[in-house]
């Protein structure tokens, strides 16, 4: 009898054969059942590829649902807090969805692929919730996480790379737009989206064409400094862009046990995603109530003095006398492009208005010994990194 040997109880991305050839670190972690690389060469090097040339991140483990059927628009409109009627075919929407109490279950992107045909893409799996939201509606929800693979192509030369790949018309793609291209007989969907706050695209194709897509992309990118990146580099870019991440900056409402540990869109700085002009959507009643009564928490982006990264630090108010602890840091990094010590945190209202000065208690270790510094932090409004090239259409040829 032969026993089949299984290396690990994890899926391999269809890009894995190519990633393995380039990988110098052999550092992988589990992400939604898949092996995902921490990095391939060096986190800093990969990070700089995103900011100076092009970094390629494997999105395959992202949860993908294909949503079709006569009620697909009504379904999504009820699911998420923003108005999906405004998202025309060929457009992409960043959205959050809430439970009955108006607390965020997850955030994600919704691609309006064709009239009435959508792809919902998120970090977490949500089939049970989506099915519940579909009760009484004529809509089909199919998971296509494993069938569709994806690559995020991010950085100033990303446009030039795709141009070199001969994706005709790619120059017309505006931010949050999507288009379909023929790729060796298969349909390649390209959206101008990303998680880095820079010029960038995401490429989506059926699993069988993964290797061909990778090869074509890396061939085209040879002169443009293309490089695969892992999660660590992406995480740095993500914080600079001011994007929040589930399980880092907030907990999905369906996994919290203690009361008060989940967050509303208002508490995550996503007020702009909540459209009360819509007569009904999940969490509307609770959110309207919160709007009246005021929120408990506020998400803040902080510019911190000094250069010591404020991981997991407490945040204090800047009042006279005894300082009161008002919150905590959820994401922190030293930003090489901004030359800033930046962080994302959560504070109790009314603290954390834009421009407020707060203090962050940073613990750091030097040769085993721990030290502590109270660093002043300023609440900022805009993303830390927000280059004009991100928005330019057509993007410049870098």
């Amino acid at each position: 009898m032969t026993v089949q040997q299984v290396e690990q109880g994890r899926y391999r991305s269809p890009f894995y054969p190519r990633q393995a050839e380039l990988d110098r670190l052999n550092r992988w972690h589990e992400w939604k059942g898949y092996s995902s690389a921490d990095g391939f060469y060096d986190t800093a090097l990969e990070y700089f590829s995103v900011r100076n040339s092009t970094g390629v991140f494997d999105l395959t483990p992202m949860t993908k649902y294909r949503i079709t059927g006569p009620d697909s628009l009504d379904f999504l409109d009820r699911l998420v807090t923003r108005d999906m009627k405004k998202i025309k075919p060929g457009r992409v929407a960043y959205a959050v969805w809430c439970n009955d109490d108006g607390k965020v279950i997850d955030d994600g992107t919704i691609f309006h692929l064709r009239q009435g045909e959508y792809r919902l893409c998120s970090q977490e799996r949500h089939m049970a919730w989506l099915n519940a939201a579909a009760i009484g509606m004529e809509v089909s929800i199919e998971e296509e996480t494993h069938e569709i693979c994806g690559l995020a192509v991010q950085g100033p030369t990303a446009f030039s790379v795709l141009k070199a790949m001969q994706l005709d018309g790619i120059e017309k793609l505006r931010p949050f737009g999507l288009d379909h291209f023929d790729f060796q007989g298969s349909e390649l969907m390209v959206s101008r989206t990303g998680f880095t706050g820079d010029l960038g695209y995401e490429l989506w194709i059926e699993r069988d064409k993964a290797i061909e897509l990778w090869d074509a992309l890396f061939d085209a990118g040879k002169l443009y400094g293309i490089m695969p990146i892992g999660t660590e580099a992406l995480e740095h870019a993500r914080i600079e862009a001011g994007f929040i991440a589930a399980y880092v900056d907030f907990l999905p409402a369906d996994v919290t046990v203690r009361s008060g540990r989940s967050r509303s869109p208002f508490e995550l700085g996503l007020d702009w995603l909540v459209d009360f002009k819509k007569p009904n959507f999940n969490g509307r009643r609770a959110l309207a109530e919160e709007k009246r009564k005021g929120s408990t928490w506020r998400l803040v982006k902080l510019d911190i003095e000094g250069n010591k990264e404020a991981h997991h630090s407490y945040i204090y108010n800047a009042g006279r006398g005894r300082r009161k602890q008002v919150g905590f840091i959820t994401s922190a990094v030293w930003s090489p492009v901004c030359k800033q010590n930046i962080a994302i945190g959560t504070v109790q209202t009314p603290h954390g208005e834009v421009g407020d000065k707060l203090f962050v208690e940073v613990y750091y270790q030097r040769e085993m010994h721990w030290s502590r510094v109270m660093a002043e932090a300023t609440v900022v409004d805009k993303p830390f990194w927000d280059p004009p090239r991100k928005r330019a259409t057509p993007p410049g040829p870098f």
């Binding site: 439970n99 009955d100 919730w129 519940a132 939201a133 009760i135 009484g136 007569p279 009643r285 309207a288």
Partner: protein, 513 residues
């Protein structure tokens, strides 16, 4: 431009009428819209054969809350009160029960029955207090009144005394079979109590919760049985009268197709004929699934709430059988005057459980259990002179019959039911001149109850008190502004009790103070 009301009640079932009457009495302008041509919902008298009338679904009154009668000053004419229950034996050695008294059993059983009845009625009285109140909310933002109400419940249980409190907590989730087997020798007595605990439910005597359903039965007037003159319509017609006297408008033959929602608020109803009525509040006497899934529309409520509502277990398992007879049947061992009483066919607790077994798998009982009355015996208005009506609740008859409820399936079950009756009433088949069988599917269609379940949702601990119909909606107000529930699907549950309707009216009056 249609007239504007303070409150529109969807459905003129007895709870809807109680609610409407109390709200009208409070000075509100109330409109009741009923789909059927007759008020009363499932508490109604209908003609089923030429000259023969019968209470179509509910046929005995034993749960009507005294508070409802008092608040509305109801004076109901009764053709029968204080009826006894007779557990039929094939050999004619029947067991008779009334109050805490039982005959036809050993002396040990008699004294056990007294003790059993005493304890059960005591527990039922405790529950009854809570059946006539809005249940507390268990939430982080529960009000002070909720917390006090909850503390009161705990206190009341504790006040039973240490031993009785332990018994209460031991019994409340338990099955009736274990209790009757521990106490009684008489199989007929055990069977009869098992039947009482499972009537109208999708539960067998060995199912957990059947002590609770037994207590529920007693939580009105200790299970004392009454038969209104003219059948159940006597009750609901009186309620309709009272409501009208207080100024409520009742429109029948007007099915509501939609509860109109605008900007997250229920603002009125639309009827099948396309008429729209507007009101400040819409109160639904329909079951929770019909109310939310069909009338309100899931798009107008939250996803988690929709999911909970769609998961309510409410598939009926009881059928109603009506027989027009050209004379009283022969029942060995039964005195003639006892045709005025309630007869049970449940000769053993195993018989009841075995009757339930097939229902779990989508089949009807080969040997069903019966609760039988001859309403015409006391009330001559129900049948031509010298002729009689047999009205029986027969179970188990699952809503979802695996083979489907075709005409032939219906006919086969009817034949089988009459054959079973024939065992206890030899020759009854020859006396039948007309029949009517209402399976849960028929009850659903004719009385607009999802699943044909008379409680509008199985009466079990997970769908009880704080979680009836579902968590987050237990205080009659639905999580949609302007929408209330006042039917059996709300706390405390079904049966012709009026408690849900009265509690809902009181909750509305309190909320609007």
């Amino acid at each position: 431009m249609s007239e504007r009301y303070d409150v529109i009640v969807v459905g003129a079932g007895h709870n809807g009428l109680v609610c409407a009457a109390l709200l009208a009495k409070s000075g509100r302008k109330v409109l009741v819209v009923e789909a059927n041509d007759q008020v009363g919902g499932a508490a109604v008298t209908r003609t089923f054969a030429d000259g023969f009338s019968v209470s179509s679904v509910a046929h005995l009154l034993y749960q009507l809350q005294p508070q409802v009668e008092k608040d509305l000053g109801l004076k109901l004419p009764m053709s029968g009160t204080d009826m006894q229950s007779i557990a039929l034996a094939e050999d004619g050695e029947h067991v008779r029960m009334k109050g805490n008294h039982v005959s036809g059993v050993s002396n040990e059983d008699k004294s056990e029955y007294r003790a059993f009845h005493k304890r059960m009625t005591r527990f039922a009285d405790l529950l009854k207090t809570y059946f006539n109140r809005t249940p507390p909310r268990l939430a982080n933002d529960a009000s002070r009144a909720d917390m006090l109400n909850l503390a009161q419940l705990g206190f009341d249980i504790r006040r039973l005394g240490k031993k009785e409190m332990q018994e209460f907590l031991r019994l409340i989730g338990m099955n009736i079979r274990d209790e009757v087997v521990e106490r009684f020798d008489s199989a007929l007595l055990r069977g009869a109590i098992s039947l009482d605990a499972t009537l109208g439910t999708h539960l067998g005597p060995r199912s957990p919760n059947t002590i609770l359903t037994y207590l529920y039965r007693l939580a009105g007037s200790h299970g004392e049985l009454r038969q209104p003159t003219g059948g159940m319509s006597a009750v609901t017609d009186a309620l309709a009268h009272t409501a009208r006297d207080h100024g409520a408008v009742i429109r029948t033959g007007m099915p509501v197709t939609k509860i109109v929602v605008e900007n997250g608020r229920a603002i009125g109803v639309r009827t099948e004929s396309g008429e729209t009525f507007n009101a400040r509040l819409v109160v639904s006497n329909a079951d929770p699934k019909t109310t939310i899934m069909d009338l309100t529309g899931v798009k107008n409520v939250e996803t988690g709430f929709t999911r909970r509502i769609s998961h309510i277990r409410m598939q009926g398992n009881a059928a109603k059988l009506h027989l027009a007879l050209d004379g009283l049947p022969d029942v060995p061992g039964l005195e003639k005057r006892e045709f005025a009483d309630r007869l049970l066919i449940a000769p053993h607790e195993h018989y009841v459980e075995r009757a339930f077994n097939p229902a779990k798998y989508g089949e009807y009982s080969e040997q069903p259990v019966f609760e039988i009355t001859f309403p015409s015996f006391r009330d001559a208005s129900l049948a031509p002179a010298g002729k009689h009506v047999l009205s029986a609740i027969v179970q188990y008859v699952p809503y979802e019959l695996r083979a489907g409820w075709s005409d032939s399936a219906r006919k086969s079950f009817e034949t089988l039911a009459i054959d079973t009756l024939g065992v206890y009433m030899p020759g009854i088949a020859d006396r039948i001149t007309a029949t009517e069988l209402l399976t849960p599917v028929d009850i659903e269609r004719e009385f607009h109850i999802h699943g044909g379940h008379w409680h509008h949702g199985e009466l079990t601990l997970d769908q009880f008190l704080f979680t009836r119909p579902v968590g987050g909606a237990q205080q009659y107000a639905m999580p949609l502004d302007g929408l209330y529930l006042c039917g059996a699907g709300a706390h405390p549950g079904g049966g012709v009790s009026g408690a849900a309707g009265r509690n809902a009216a009181r909750a509305i009056i309190k909320a609007e103070k």
